[in-house]
Symmetry: C2
Subunit: 138 residues, 2 copies
DNA sequence: CAGCATCCTGAAAGATACTG
DNA sequence: CAGTATCTTTCAGGATGCTG
């Protein structure tokens, strides 16, 4: 997708709107569930086995850990290595593809850190601005 | 959050895992719904009124446009200007805060463009790898 | 024109219990 | 240890019709 003229201020925004948003939605669908990014970030620090992940990620259920890992593996972001031992041992690690997701994810996280306060302010102001308490739409 | 030692390879990843993922989830919750990023990207190109947005964003319903815009406005990412005319006219535009979301969003979109093919490959390989057809987990 | 009010559905995800 | 198997709740989001 390089149909944007250089010099156009929005040469990049089209990357988002591009095909009606299908591409950006593809990523979002992949990383926006409740646990994926957390798992990826955790595995970025070191390869881990199932139980370790379960401990390192507070609040996740076995079920969701299983499901998310399976999808991540399927998409090639995470590698799964099962050792033929007893008791069983399975190790998960980020693949290069998985690691490549870290920088953009950090960009987002950085934005979150910097601007969350502002957003909460705006929200509070908007809500308390006399009138009714208008909690999140929908 | 600058509790990471410089030199640590993961000084940044902690930004994601940081507080148990609460911060990153805050952004995700904000931008990961089906329409937010699309609207933001569209408004980045030019301020628009309700109807225009509705046309520019294929597939969105009035309801979702209204709701998403309301949340965006509430969070201070989008400004809403109603003109006291008849027929009514309302214009939406990105605030500076809203504009600041564009770069990180682009980082993600870029990643999507670059790696989507690889992911689909991996997925296809994983699925057709003899055995059963294992569509997305869950 | 720019919305609001309702009804309805599928998919995400939590809780809980069981197994190779 | 590393998962499966069910059951249940929640709720984002679609469809449709009405209004200031």
């Amino acid at each position: 997708m390089s149909q944007a003229q250089p010099g156009t201020p929005y040469e990049h925004t089209c990357m988002i709107r591009g095909d009606g948003g299908r591409t950006i939605r593809a990523v979002l669908d992949r990383i926006c569930d409740k646990w994926t990014l957390l798992i990826v970030a955790t595995l970025d620090e070191q390869r881990m086995r199932f139980g370790e992940l379960h401990q390192h990620i507070p609040g996740i259920s076995q079920r969701m850990l299983t499901l998310t890992l399976r999808n991540l593996t399927r998409d090639g972001l995470v590698s799964r290595t099962a050792f033929a031992e007893v008791p069983p041992r399975v190790e998960y690690a980020l693949t290069p593809l998985g690691k490549s997701l870290i920088p953009p994810a950090l960009a987002l996280a950085g934005w979150a850190m910097e601007n969350n306060a502002r957003i909460m302010e705006s929200r509070a102001a908007h809500d308390t601005a006399d009138g009714r308490p208008s909690p999140p739409a929908e």
